[in-house]
Amino acid sequence: MENVVSNFESPEISIKLTDEKLYIRTPTTSETFALRSVNGIGIVDLVDKYNQELTVQKNAKSPILIYIFGGLFLIGGLMNLSKGIGAGIIGIILGGGLIYWGTSQKPNDPTLKTAVRLMISGMNRDFEFDKSGAYSSQIAELVVKIEETLTAYHKNQQ
């Protein structure tokens, strides 16, 4: 019977560490690693990806034409309210909708992602997470536990 050393669950990933194995499940994958095959664990900041996202955000052009048309519809709608409520409301809805759609086209602020890297015999396996995310404390705890388990495991083998 394996003893569960640590268990972490989030919507994106669930990781269970026992004294012999490491179970990792994501919505699309399910992997089990024998601890004897894990040579180490690392935390890698994905700076290249963050750099690319920053560049995309800087190069993204503001949809000025959409704002202008949205503004014109909005003003036209407001001016037409006194003449006819139907046309006025349609203009306001169209203008507001266009401006809202324009703002939603802007890329979100990029965040620096990090990967937990498992160094397994013959390959590395990365699992992405956000260091400032809701589950960072649990992931830190898990990483510490895996580090300690690895040390203990290799010591016991000598």
Partner: protein, 68 residues
């Protein structure tokens, strides 16, 4: 067109393609370096902010385990 003319034409085309690829690679690399330099302050700021909090978290869990 004789063999020699064909040989020279092929060599010219291949060399010009190679030169063009070299220039394109150089420009892409320069663009990448410039973008990286421009983004460096944001990257360093983000790294410093996130890693400080992360190190504190890890140390807290390490201390907790040592106390047991």
């Amino acid at each position: 067109m004789g063999f020699w003319d064909t040989f020279v034409r092929v060599w010219q085309v291949r060399t010009s393609v190679r030169i063009q690829q070299g220039i394109e690679n150089y420009l892409h690399e320069q663009k990448r370096v410039n973008e990286l330099n421009a983004n460096m302050p944001s990257i360093l700021n983000e790294l410093e902010k996130k890693n400080e909090a992360w190190d504190n978290l890890k140390n807290k869990h390490k201390d907790k385990n040592y106390d047991k």
